[in-house]
């Protein structure tokens, strides 16, 4: 079981670990680094609970091998709040009652963040499309969509 070094930036801080070759980024984040905000729901690329942002793009950490992430800039939901202040998306998910069991929430927030980073004023269709790879089984899709739109409005008001 050959171990391989991996080094990347996670939520702004440098991480270096030795992992077994073939270890997924999800396993490396959760079991080695201790960031359990990405969840393993299907390990098949279907549910989106493991979504993270790698170099600005939404990725599924369950299908990404850790050793392919050398030098990458990785962001997870655990790193969104700054200085204890919730990110507007986190605030909106709270205010719009967009969580129930919470298992899909970190992945949903990652998918929404990539959307808002590129499209600050998305349409409802944009939001639905952006979240289309993330499954919620408590079926709170409507509050989740509303939360993303709420966060976009909050952002644009802050910017104005």
């Amino acid at each position: 079981m050959a171990k391989v070094p991996v080094q990347f930036t996670l939520n702004g801080s440098e991480k270096a670990e030795f992992v077994e070759s073939g270890t997924t980024l999800l396993a490396a984040l959760r079991d080695k680094i201790g960031d359990t905000s990405p969840k393993g729901g299907c390990h098949q690329g279907t549910c989106g609970a493991c979504s993270v942002i790698i170099d600005g793009e939404l990725r599924l950490s369950c299908l990404t091998l850790a050793e392919t992430c050398g030098g990458a800039d990785i962001k997870t939901t655990a790193g969104l709040a700054e200085g204890g202040v919730l990110h507007p998306l986190q605030r909106a998910f709270l205010d719009a009652f967009a969580t129930q069991c919470g298992f899909c929430t970190p992945g949903m927030i990652m998918a929404a963040k990539v959307l808002l980073d590129r499209t600050p004023n998305p349409s409802r269709e944009d939001v639905v499309e952006a979240l289309s790879g993330n499954i919620c089984r408590c079926t709170g899709y409507e509050p989740i969509i509303q939360a993303v739109l709420l966060a976009a409005r909050a952002n644009s008001q802050n910017a104005a």
Binding site: G22, G45, L65, T68, S132
Partner: protein, 264 residues
């Protein structure tokens, strides 16, 4: 034995490593890592090539060359590939499209592989180190193929001559019930002068609807005139049965959706 990944800078070395039993090529990971996660212990070793050329898109003189590592997202957002965007966007959700590659889609078993359906309709050429081959030949032999795909090439269709449809039960994104891609050339009076139609989920890999193609020639795209083509659409198909739909259902709805695609 654990799963081990080896990264090569040369395609030649990677192809050599791929000959070892239990070895698979790692593209975007959406097929092989998924298999490993699900406990497929037949895969013990992965190889990949980190040549940036594999991620290049080249469009010139009406010819397109997509590197095998080009992602669905890259196709979908490329300004000159607008005709292909619907097929690229049909694959997965946003995260999957950032990972899934053109090369990998050629190997995706039904109900996956919607983009390969589009490539089949476009009569793409599949490029490997050993040379080039028509996509139909490639798809027929893909199960035993031990050579890494480096690129696909095809003539860029005019947007109005290329049509793509994916049918899912879950909206906005779901696994294919079926997918259809059609490259149609029409005379000024609207008569079909050439037709190439590819189907997804109508076998374990994308197939042509040759009887329907033939029946369309000389027809105008009206309900009445396409009827023989729709009737012929099921010739030679062997649809898959999976949790999404039975073979019977897929066969029943194929002419309906082909009709919608042609009349749209």
């Amino acid at each position: 034995m654990s799963l081990a990944l080896r990264t090569f800078s040369s395609m030649k070395d990677a192809n050599a490593a791929l000959q070892v039993s239990g070895t698979r090529y790692l593209g975007g990971g959406t097929l092989v890592v998924r298999a490993a996660n699900e406990g497929d212990v037949a895969v013990s070793s992965l190889v990949r090539v980190d040549d940036p050329g594999l991620s290049q898109i080249a469009v010139s003189g009406g010819k397109v060359r997509l590197g095998a590592s080009v992602t669905m997202a890259a196709v979908a957002r490329h300004p000159e590939l607008a005709a292909l965007a619907p097929a690229a966007r049909a694959v997965g959700g946003p995260a999957i499209r950032n990972m899934a590659t053109v090369g990998g889609n050629l190997f995706a078993p039904a109900p996956y592989g919607d983009f390969a359906v589009a490539l089949l309709a476009l009569d793409a050429t599949v490029v490997t180190e050993g040379g080039e081959m028509p996509i139909e030949t490639f798809l027929a032999g893909r199960d035993t193929s031990r050579v890494i795909v480096t690129a696909v090439g095809f003539s860029l269709p005019r947007a109005e001559s290329f049509r793509f449809l994916k049918v899912s039960r879950v909206k906005p994104k779901g696994v294919s019930v079926l997918s259809i891609a059609a490259l149609l050339e029409l005379a000024p009076d609207g008569t079909v002068t050439s037709a190439r139609i590819a189907l997804g989920c109508m076998a374990d890999r994308p197939i042509r609807a040759k009887a329907a193609e033939k029946a369309l020639l000389g027809c105008k795209l009206t309900q009445q005139e396409i009827a023989p083509a729709l009737a012929a659409a099921g010739e030679g198909i062997a649809p898959i049965t999976d949790p999404v739909a039975s073979a019977w259902y897929r066969a029943e709805v194929l002419p309906v959706h082909l009709g919608r695609l042609l009349l749209n």
